[in-house]
């Protein structure tokens, strides 16, 4: 089966967490949620590789965790509510995580939000991004 085109495929800069992504990221997400309990956090602190090895992740997924490559984690099936537990583990608040993923400095991102957020204008379709 080739992957079917989906009506949300043309939204730019967005991973819609559908069944295909959910399947791909299952163990990555289960790893992340283990960090919402203190015992999981302690295990990951004590021996990151050993704790990761408990979950059937691909080597790519493990590397993205080691790299804290937040967008890559999403690309490999991670969901933001899960990957943000890894952020919390590092002491990163949600807003700073959002800044990192959108490639902005913490200050610029914060200013954008205070000024009303990222406009929908020019951000609805991939085609609009390609023109830039």
């Amino acid at each position: 089966m080739t992957r079917k085109e989906k009506e949300y495929d043309d939204i730019p800069g967005t991973f819609v967490f559908d069944a295909d992504r959910s399947r791909q990221g299952y163990w990555l997400n289960q790893f992340c949620i283990s960090l919402s309990k203190e015992e999981g956090r302690q295990a990951f602190r004590d021996d990151p590789e050993a704790h990761m090895a408990k979950y059937k992740m691909t080597e790519e997924q493990k590397q993205a965790i080691r790299d804290r490559d937040w967008n890559r984690l999403l690309e490999l099936g991670g969901n933001i509510y899960y990957t943000s537990k890894l952020g919390a583990f590092d002491g990163i608040v949600f807003q700073d995580l959002a800044a990192m993923m959108s490639g902005m400095s913490r200050e610029d991102y914060r200013k954008m939000m205070v000024d009303g957020g990222r406009s929908p204008e020019g951000n609805r379709y991939k085609s609009e991004w390609e023109k830039k």
Binding site: Y8, V16, F94, Y109, R124
Partner: protein, 283 residues
């Protein structure tokens, strides 16, 4: 007879809870957010509910990826605030009206809604932040001041239930409440939203124009609101804006005509547009 006398829409941004828990709501960043809740807290004291039927979503806290219910109705005696990676929020345990919750569960299944019954469940900011908004500061030793029946909706894995299905569920909740033979005052909360995207390169998207229009049609033309498609939510309001389907559950439980007694809209709280409505029902 039990009666739904009001519907409340409210964002459930975790940072709102954090601001309250850290007592920084007077800071310039937070002041305009909380100013809009002052009326609500006064109104809530005057119109005190016996039971809040609280529609929210879990953010991969009580539910992990192993089990994903579309609609999960809390039937346990109580629900403990969950550890979301930062330790649990310092707020009271949430107490259920268990008999009433069971009645609603039964009524919904016979009404052909395929709910999941939860007899054990922790609750995250999605549920506790709207309670904090309406009931103000509370410590773990306090009481929330209301019983709460939680309904968790899957909005994390695509597809969430459709806006139309959520509206129909609200109508079915109304039938269930109306058939409960106890004189109690019920409020229904639809939480989450408004426009926000937490992930990837488009993070930070806010669509204030769309949000305000949504509030208008939700209040006055709900038959239009129930037709909004998933892809419109995703494209126009960000990937997490889809949470607004939960506002439709609330709206479906009210009369066709309602009175909007309060509206509050502010950008931003953290990554999110804060929206809030109080709708009085005249049934």
């Amino acid at each position: 007879m039990a009666k739904i006398t009001a519907g409340i829409a409210c964002s459930h941004v975790p940072a709102i809870g954090v601001a309250m828990d850290q007592h920084i709501t007077d800071q310039p960043y937070w002041q305009p957010v909380f100013e809009g809740f002052e009326y609500s807290r006064e109104w809530n004291k005057k119109n005190k509910p016996d039971v809040v039927f609280l529609v929210y979503n879990d953010h991969c806290t009580a539910f992990d990826a192993s089990v994903i219910p579309t609609f999960a109705l809390g039937c346990a005696a109580e629900f403990t605030p969950a550890d979301e990676g930062w330790g649990p929020r310092p707020v009271p345990v949430v107490k259920n009206h268990q008999e009433f919750a069971s009645h609603i569960a039964q009524s919904l299944v016979l009404d052909e809604f395929d709910i999941t019954i939860m007899n054990e469940m922790d609750v995250d900011h999605g549920l506790t932040v709207p309670l904090s908004v309406m009931f103000g500061d509370k410590t773990p030793e306090d009481d929330w001041g209301t019983l709460v029946i939680p309904l968790a909706v899957n909005v994390v894995q695509y597809p969430a239930p459709t806006a139309n299905r959520c509206y129909a569920l609200g109508q079915a909740i109304r039938r269930a409440v109306d058939s409960w033979d106890e004189d109690i005052n019920v409020h229904i909360y639809g939480t989450g939203g408004m426009s926000h995207q937490l992930q990837a390169e488009r993070a930070g998207l806010i669509n204030a124009t769309w949000d305000q229009q949504f509030m208008d049609i939700l209040v006055n033309e709900p038959e239009k609101a129930r037709k909004i498609s998933h892809v419109e939510f995703l494209r126009e309001t960000g990937s997490e804006g889809i949470e607004m389907v939960m506002w439709l559950v609330m709206r479906g439980a009210l009369d066709e005509k309602v009175t909007e007694v309060h509206r509050h809209y502010h950008v931003p709280a953290s990554n999110t547009a804060v929206g809030h409505l109080i709708l009085e029902n005249h049934a």
